[in-house]
Amino acid sequence: MKNKKNLLAFPYLLWSAGFIIIPLCMIFFYGFTDKTNRFTFANVVSIVEGENLKALGISILLALIATLICVLLSYPLAYILSGSGMKQSGFMIFVFILPMWMNFLLRTLAWQTLLEKNGVINMILHFLHLPVLNIINTPYAIVLGMVYNFLPFMILPLYNALSKIDPSVIEAARDLGANSFQTFVNVIFPLSIPGLISGITMVSVPALTTFVISDMLGGGKILLIGNVIEQEFKQANNWHVGSGLSIVLMLFILLAMGLTAKYDKEGGSYF
């Protein structure tokens, strides 16, 4: 009976082996060989070459800033939404996810229109006699694009974690004499950490690896590590170097996940 039921997973077993495991192995194969199929570390080590290292550095920096801004913007929002009435907050969450239904490339493109020298935002700023904003084709525009695109990935898990907190726990803290600040630091925040962690992972991985946002809002002048890899595959046709750099990228993703998972555990035992 049990073995018979396992048969249902057989198609997925084949599928996952063919389209998940083998392709990953191919990246490692190409990453560690040269054009004559001989073993080499050169592709992976090429990450320390000037251009590549610079791209990786900028990517990490921008991804960190974007993730931090997402946390700072989303936390109060999720907190407010989770505190409002149940029926209304479900609707509000829907309102915050709805923008994701418009094509993500077009939404990013719209920021070009908004941020341009004579764009909408500058027209409004000019009208209000405020200094104009010249951030299109700069790293600032890329960070804005990242924050804009990945913000819902932070809002959702935070909202889920915060709205699951049992109100009686908060009441208990207040009854025991904690003021609202102490209640937040000692009760609400620790309970929201799992949501925070998954939000950070969901924002930082796509931010670290994007090449579309930097392409559209950076004016092609700022290369992120995603741009470098994309060009190795689509323009230079150098799959070996591209794979080598992808392996480095995967190491960073694993590192980020390991760090957040570790912090998650420590956080759990601390409080």
Partner: protein, 271 residues
């Protein structure tokens, strides 16, 4: 005061999220061909949209791809989730790990790995390769939607059905399937959405000549976007908006109606 501040904050975030969407909707009515200038109100892009063969082809490809990949992923994923629920721990570990890989890995790495696979087996890059790629990244969404529902099902009800003489298949479809159906439907729609919005993986799995809406927009960004794209995205956004409102509110209205009728019965108003 505090409540006003909270509302103001929520409004500001909403403005950030909706500014590009409003921009795109406004641009779809802009008579001028460039994004930088307002040339007066027009509906002509909506009219020429349906005559633009390239855009219509991309739309057809996108929808067909989303429908097929979501359907196949739902079949494979649901079967796998049913089996995973009662699997021995060791085998289950493989399936859990393999499900997490595409979810946690960067899209660019998933895309590249599939591209390398298709190159290795000398496949022609086109609709079939893109379809295989979309099914691959969709299956995890189905599994993650169905598995929690599967865990909630009560095994003894299924066993009771067997004791009462039902065949395993009949018992499954009569007893278990209705319980997990919401998860299956959620997985299907999630897959459909992910496929509709994907750019990065499609970018690496497609060949020349085939375009989805996303890849079409990406190439047009460099040459100048045709205003028909704004019209199409506005129409798609409205369609989704209306669909979601219908799906969310019709059951509620129905429920309220039933509730009203029930209370009327109780009060003896209707006989």
């Amino acid at each position: 005061m505090k409540a006003t501040l909270k509302k103001l904050y929520v409004l500001l975030i909403l403005l950030l999220l909706y500014a590009p969407i409003i921009t795109l909707v406004v641009l779809s009515f802009n008579a001028s061909k460039t994004r930088a200038k307002w040339g007066g109100f027009t509906m002509k892009w909506y009219a020429s949209l349906f005559r633009n063969e390239q855009v219509m082809n991309a739309l057809y490809t996108t929808l067909l791809l989303a429908l097929l990949s979501a359907l196949i992923a739902t079949l494979i994923g649901t079967a796998a989730a049913i089996a995973m629920n009662s699997m021995q721990a060791k085998i289950k570990m493989y399936f859990t790990a393999v499900t997490n890989i595409p979810m946690l890995n960067a899209d660019i790495v998933t895309g590249i790995s599939l591209m390398l696979l298709f190159l290795a087996i000398d496949a022609t890059f086109g609709f079939p390769t893109v379809l295989l790629a979309h099914i691959t990244f969709n299956i995890p969404y189905v599994i993650l939607s169905v598995l929690p529902k599967m865990k909630q099902t009560n095994r003894s009800v299924y066993e009771a059905a067997l004791d009462l003489g039902a065949t395993p298949a009949y018992a499954f479809f009569k007893v278990v399937f209705p319980d997990i159906l919401p998860g299956v439907i959620a997985g299907f729609f999630l897959s459909f959405t992910m496929s509709l919005d994907d750019f990065i993986i499609t970018h690496f799995a497609k060949g020349p000549g085939l375009d989805t809406l996303s890849t079409k927009i990406y190439t047009e960004v460099k040459k100048g976007i045709k205003p028909e794209m704004y019209a199409l995205s506005t129409l798609m956004f409205l369609t989704v908006l209306i669909l979601i409102i219908l799906v969310n509110y019709i059951p509620n209205i129905q429920k309220e109606k039933n509730l009203k009728e029930n209370t009327r019965y109780e009060k003896g108003m209707v006989h």
